[in-house]
Symmetry: C2
Subunit: 245 residues, 2 copies
Amino acid sequence: MKKNNPQEKPQEHLIKDARKLVEAYPKVPLTVDCAIFGFEESQLKVLVIKSDLELYEGHYSLLGDIVKDNEELDEAAYRVLKERTGMDDVFLDQVRAFSHPARHPGGRVITVAYCSLLNINHHQLKIHDNDLNWHSVSTLKDMAFDHKDIVDECYGWLQKRIQEHPLGFNLLPEKFSLRELQNLYEAILGVSLDRRNFRKKFASMDLLIDINEMEQDVPHRPGKLYKFNFEKYETSKRKWIGIDF
Amino acid sequence: MKKNNPQEKPQEHLIKDARKLVEAYPKVPLTVDCAIFGFEESQLKVLVIKSDLELYEGHYSLLGDIVKDNEELDEAAYRVLKERTGMDDVFLDQVRAFSHPARHPGGRVITVAYCSLLNINHHQLKIHDNDLNWHSVSTLKDMAFDHKDIVDECYGWLQKRIQEHPLGFNLLPEKFSLRELQNLYEAILGVSLDRRNFRKKFASMDLLIDINEMEQDVPHRPGKLYKFNFEKYETSKRKWIGIDF
DNA sequence: ACAAAGTTGTGTATTTTTTACACAAAAAAG
DNA sequence: CTTTTTTGTGTAAAAAATACACAACTTTGT
C-alpha cells in the first residue's frame, strides 16, 4: 500500500513499450498432450494412437496438438479431446509441463500434459482413424517421444487425486454398482480392498444416491445402482487439516 | 509388442523429417515465475520485486525470466533463484502453467509457475537491488501481470503439500524448536493447533532428531532443538492408501 | 531477591476412525 | 435343483485424533 512519495528516487529504466519487450523474447514451440483415461473390463486404459513420425513407426503416442496463437492451454487440450472423442463435458486437468530439450526428435518442443477421464462407452469415437485405440495402462511400453513418462506422471497424479477427490465417477457410467466402484479403485490403486469396509466408507460419506434400480444383464445376483451426489459434494467439501507424511 | 507383419497395410503419410515438422509449429514466448517463500517473524513471506514495466509502476511482481533456448524449465527456474538469492540448494517444484492470452500486456506470454522454499536467514541477498524484498503473503495485493493468481495458486499448493510432505523444514533453520515448527504450520495453514497434540504427532512420526541443544537468546525458557531426519524419511516414505473426500 | 511474563514439557480419558473378519440369501447358468 | 457368483450386512478390536491443565524453567524488570 505504499504511495509514491517525492523522496523516493524515481525508478529508472522503466520499460514503456511492453510489446517491444515481448517481441524480443525467444519463442518455443508449445504443445499439449492428453493422457485420456478410460475404464473397461476392470482395467484402466489410456487412449493412444500410432505415431505419425517415421522415426517412431509402430510406437504409440498420446493425443496432442500444438497450442494455437492466443489459445489457452486448457482450450487446446479440450480441442484435442473433442476432436478425437467427440465429447465435450469431460474431466480435464493440467498435470505439468515437460521440457527436456531432446524430448522431440524434431527439435525443442515444450509440452504441457493433461489428464482426462471419461466413460469409454459414452462416445462413439472414430476408433479406427489412424489406429486410435484404448490400451491397458499396465502393459504400455515403447511409446513415442517421452510419452511413457507423461503417462506415468499422469497415472501417479490420478492415483493420488482419486483418493482425495471424487474423480473416479468420471470413468464410470452415471449409474453404477458398488462393485464397479470398488473394481475401479482397486484397478487404479493396484491394491485389493475389503469389500465391507469399502462399502461402509462410502455409506458414511453419504454421497451416493440410491436410485432404487438394480443391475441388468449381469451373470449373478444384481446389485443396487447408485449415482454420485455431485451437488452435495460441492456444497460440503471437506476441509481437512492434518499432518501426515 | 506388435511386430510389423506383411498383412498390415503400410501406414501412409509417415513423416520423415521431424525437424521440418517442428519448424512449422507456431512459437510462443515462454517464461518461468517463481513464488519464493520464506518464513520470518511467524509469517509466511514471498520474495517480490518492483515491476520494471511502466504500466505496472509501483506494483510488485514475482521473480521470473524467459526460458532460454535448450534450457529445461527447472533449470530456468533454478537460474532465477540463484541469480537473485545466491543460493543453490533450495527446494523448487513446478506448480503449473498460466496461459491466459492477455496475462502479459506486451502480448502472448506463457509462464510456468514454480514454488520455492528457503530459509530467509541463509542468504545475504542483494535485497536492495531494484527493491527486491520479502512481503507478507497475507497482505499482498495489486501485483503486476497475473502474479497474484500465481501466488494464490502456489500458496494453495504449499498448504496442501505441507500436510503430506516434509516441505516446511526448508523454511526453517537446520535446528529448530517445536514451537517454531508449530508456528510455521499455523501460519501456513491459517489455523491454530493444539500444542500437546502437535508435539505428540511429531513424536509418533519419529522423524525429528533431538540434538541435545537448547534455544539461545530467546526471552523465555528455551526449548529443545531438533533436526529433521531426512534420511529416515526417504527410506520409509509412507505409502498411504485411503479414500477421503 | 523477588515477582511477573512467557514458554516448556508432559498424560489421560473420550471419541472417532480404521481394520479384520463370516454367513445367509439372491439370481443366473447349466 | 444344484452350482456358481455375488450381494448385503454387523461387531469387536486396534489405532488415531481430540480435548484438556499444571508445575517447572528462564528471562526481564524492579
